[in-house]
């Protein structure tokens, strides 16, 4: 036979020439020995300032109440819910990469799953802020959970908002566990590689005494696979439940059965866009092009293309049914999107989510980091607009013309939103500095040295 293994036809997952030792050194040195660059300080500084802005906006909110926001009657769900859905959606790509691609045995995921999972955690943290500060009296937010209390009242389990509490907190818990479990062997590596004693102690405590015993690895792999198997339906359920927040209501534009799969696809779409926006600069700055190769970027681009088309399917079927169904309110919603006061944003949304990303069909652009970075940015804007259209346009003109209104975000809305980007980026900056951003032990399994021959 003259053909080599099939994999050689595509770009490699990891450039040739690496050994167990050099992979370990390359990734762990970023955390252990590499001096912190000025660029890192500048980047972290900017992100940290935005984070301070978030805290300021929230503090002012607590003093004044949500009247400082643009929400009103009838648009009771403004930026807070738009941003919540946007961030939760972004988080989905991390779980998809680490769990679903693991089950599908897509080994290329091994070099991006760690930081994608970190991205999930920070995105969920950013998302989680919004419902809490949106409840009006955030100091009573624990009322969302069922707990025995002297008032003898309980949450109302027929409400999707309570489902959301369970879905999002389960998601946050399992994402954190999945991420931490994945880190344990690498923390042990850092423990054994650190020169300074205090680092040894900290990483050692976090590694919990991991020693790489064959018995441990066996149970570890079983637990890891089972977690992946659990996280896969979980991640689908989370955005499904988010979609139920809208769909179980009867507001035109919300009450439609396509919402669950369409929300999930949109979540993965925006999540992969965020993965690319992070991975492209990170691989450049930390010289990780050998580990995060063109193949990764291309695959991420293909996932974006596919999920983007499912989102487009959602728009098509929703618009068609608005017409075919013959319900005058649905028909009006369609008209209002196309010709109403927010129509500009609807056309922007179509351009950002459907038209522009089609350039990814061109293989040349799909392998160009610059293009991918730009398209990802466009998709993130588009997916934010989608949630804006769903929340605001559906609410601002519903059944009764007498209760129509308009929604204008205030500076506090914008400060909170941009502030959460600061929170997200600050956490990402700390993460790449303090923990191995690529899973070292999973990278080892990709090396030729790790192959077990009979």
């Amino acid at each position: 036979m003259t053909q080599g293994p099939v994999q050689n036809e595509r770009a490699p997952v990891i450039e040739p020439g690496y050994t167990l030792g050099s992979v370990t050194d390359k990734i762990s040195s970023i955390v252990l020995t590499r001096p912190t660059s000025n660029a890192w300080f500048v980047g972290f500084g900017v992100a940290f300032l935005l984070l301070m802005m978030l805290l300021f906006a929230i503090a002012y909110l607590f003093v004044k109440g949500i009247g400082i926001w643009g929400v009103n009657a009838p648009i009771g769900w403004g930026f807070a819910i738009v941003n919540f859905v946007w961030w939760i959606g972004i988080g989905h790509a991390g779980t998809l990469i680490s769990a679903i691609l693991l089950l599908l045995r897509q080994s290329w995921r091994n070099s991006i799953n760690r930081f994608a999972e970190a991205m999930t955690l920070f995105a969920v943290a950013s998302a989680g802020i919004f419902p809490l500060i949106h409840v009006g009296r955030p100091w009573l937010a624990y009322w969302l959970f069922p707990y025995p209390n002297t008032m003898r009242v309980w949450p109302q389990f027929r409400s999707p908002l309570v489902w959301d509490v369970f879905a999002v907190s389960t998601y946050a818990t399992l994402s954190a566990l999945f991420w931490f479990i994945g880190l344990i062997p690498d923390l042990a590596t850092l423990r054994d590689r650190s020169e300074e004693r205090w680092k040894k102690i900290i990483y050692g405590m976090l590694a919990m005494g991991w020693r790489g015993s064959a018995r441990h690895w066996h149970r570890y792999e079983t637990a890891y696979l089972l977690l992946a198997g659990l996280a896969t339906p979980l991640v689908l359920s989370v955005h499904t439940v988010v979609s139920f927040d809208f769909a179980v209501g009867i507001v035109p534009g919300w009450h439609t059965t396509i919402f669950p799969p369409y929300f999930v696809a949109g979540a993965i779409y925006s999540g992969f866009a965020m993965v690319l926006m992070l991975a492209i600069p990170i691989r450049k700055v930390y010289n990780l092009e050998d580990f995060i190769t063109e193949r990764h970027l291309q695959n991420a681009a293909k996932v974006m293309l596919a999920t983007g088309l499912i989102v487009a399917y959602g728009y098509v079927i929703e618009a068609f049914m608005g017409w075919y169904g013959g319900n005058r309110y649905d028909a009006f919603l369609l008209w209002n999107r196309l010709h109403g006061p927010y129509s500009f944003f609807y056309y922007m949304l179509l351009a950002c989510n459907i038209v522009i990303p089609q350039v990814l069909w061109i293989p040349k652009l799909r392998s160009s980091p610059v293009w991918l970075f730009l398209v990802s940015g466009v998709v993130l804007v588009g997916m934010w607009l989608e949630r804006f259209i769903i929340v605001v346009v559906s609410l601002h003109r519903d059944f009764l013309t007498s209760s129509w209104g308009m929604y204008y975000p205030t500076r506090w809305d914008w400060m909170t939103y941009i502030g959460t980007i600061g929170l997200f980026l600050s956490a990402m900056f700390l993460f790449v500095r303090l923990l191995p951003m690529i899973s070292i032990f999973e990278m080892r399994t990709l090396l030729p040295e790790a192959e077990v021959k009979e």
Partner: protein, 402 residues
């Protein structure tokens, strides 16, 4: 490039395929004759059964096409071993197009929009249908759109077959670029055409009811049917060379995993639709479920929950079960039956408030199945089971060599 990778393994289908083909044809003709009698005496019931049978076998046909295109985009040995089975099923598109023609004689019996006087008599429908019958739900529109759908499906199946056939002869070639270029847009076309076809053929039976996930529910059902069908055929062929050499537990395992994934997605779509409509509780929507949960239909629904999802789910969790073709095949055959029950539960309550099954509901799908299987096995024996000159066929052929 070297010569054929396996000179000593005959890749043609075993002679048993011819026997099955003939027997299927006989069954098809005999049952077809009986069904024709039914068409004469109980025309209403006949056309309902005919629509269900048509959707069931169309599901296997188009689902196979979808899985085939998915395989071209993702590769993998799981798809190579069933590639030609899927291909043969896909090439039944012309047969399905021919079988569609009799439906046109039953339009007035099946669809209220094709009976303008009845539609006018119903106050609610009259208002609703005024616009839509003028522009969309009309006999002409129905026929034109159907021609369009079949043209697309036939076109896709034509090119996929053509390029695949090239790989049966030297020289060794890699058609994957072409396949990919067609399969990406092909899957989009499939998704859109099947959605609109299902709106025309099934959803418009009750023109006042809409559900935006309906097309996707059918899509996943079709893909599940096709996969189960492929597993059944691979089991039959597994008794003989060359399939006995080619099929490995790993690939069966993958097929089992896909089966599990598809029934989960089916359950997910079905549950989402139910929950959203149940919670909304709007009169124009919930009536669809009221019909399907009362008058005895509720038991069919419960049966589907248990035996289209719960029991198969538990079985498919087991790893040894998924890897053993001799066990997996029974579940696959069962799920094919469940697909039909699902179609029955979706379609038949439109016509009858209480549980109702006629002998035609059994005879017509068997008749159509006989003809379909005869055509399928003819297609299957026309080409080798693996394209030996596809560079990627090595992954299954080499393993068989060891």
């Amino acid at each position: 490039m070297s010569a054929a990778p396996m000179r000593n393994l005959d890749l043609m289908t075993p002679p048993v395929v011819k026997t099955i083909q003939q027997r299927s044809l006989i069954i098809g003709l005999v049952f077809g004759g009986i069904a024709a009698l039914g068409a004469w005496h109980q025309a209403d019931e006949f056309f309902r059964a005919y629509l269900m049978a048509f959707m069931a076998w169309l599901g296997v046909t188009l689902g196979s096409m979808a899985i085939l295109m998915l395989r071209h985009l993702t590769k993998g040995a799981w798809g190579m071993v069933i590639r030609r089975i899927l291909g043969a099923a896909m090439r039944c598109v012309p047969l399905m197009a021919a079988l569609f023609i009799p439906l046109l004689f039953g339009l007035r019996r099946l669809y209220i929009w094709a009976r303008p006087l009845d539609a006018m008599a119903d106050n609610h429908l009259r208002e609703h249908l005024q616009e839509i019958t003028k522009t969309y739900l009309s006999v002409n529109g129905f026929v034109i759109r159907a021609v369009f759908y079949f043209a697309i499906w036939w076109g896709l199946s034509f090119f996929l077959t053509q390029w695949s056939a090239e790989q049966d002869h030297p020289p060794m070639r890699d058609n994957s670029t072409r396949f990919k270029a067609l399969s990406g847009p092909g899957l989009i076309l499939y998704g859109l055409t099947i959605t609109f076809a299902v709106i025309d053929w099934i959803m418009s039976i009750d023109p006042s009811w809409i559900s935006t996930i309906f097309g996707l529910s059918f899509l996943i059902g079709q893909v599940l049917s096709a996969l189960c069908f492929a597993v059944v055929v691979e089991r039959i062929l597994f008794r003989y060379k060359p399939m006995s050499e080619l099929l490995k537990p790993e690939q069966v395992h993958d097929h089992g995993k896909f089966m599990l994934a598809f029934i989960m997605v089916w359950a997910y779509f079905s549950f989402s639709q139910w929950l959203i409509i149940w919670a909304g509780n709007l009169p124009e929507e919930i009536t669809w479920y009221m019909r399907r949960l009362h008058g005895g239909w509720g038991y069919v629904g419960l049966f589907l929950v248990l035996f289209h999802f719960a029991v198969p789910f538990v079985l498919l969790i087991s790893r040894p079960f998924k890897r053993d073709i001799t066990r997996l095949v029974w579940l696959a055959a069962w799920l094919l039956l469940m697909r039909y029950v699902d179609l029955f539960w979706v379609i038949e309550p439109n016509f009858s408030l209480t549980f109702n099954i006629t002998w035609l509901d059994v005879v017509v799908p068997i008749a159509m199945g006989g003809l379909w299987l005869a055509y399928f096995f003819r297609n299957l024996s026309a080409m080798p089971l693996v394209p030996a000159y596809d560079v990627f066929a090595v992954e299954v052929l080499e393993v068989a060599h060891d």
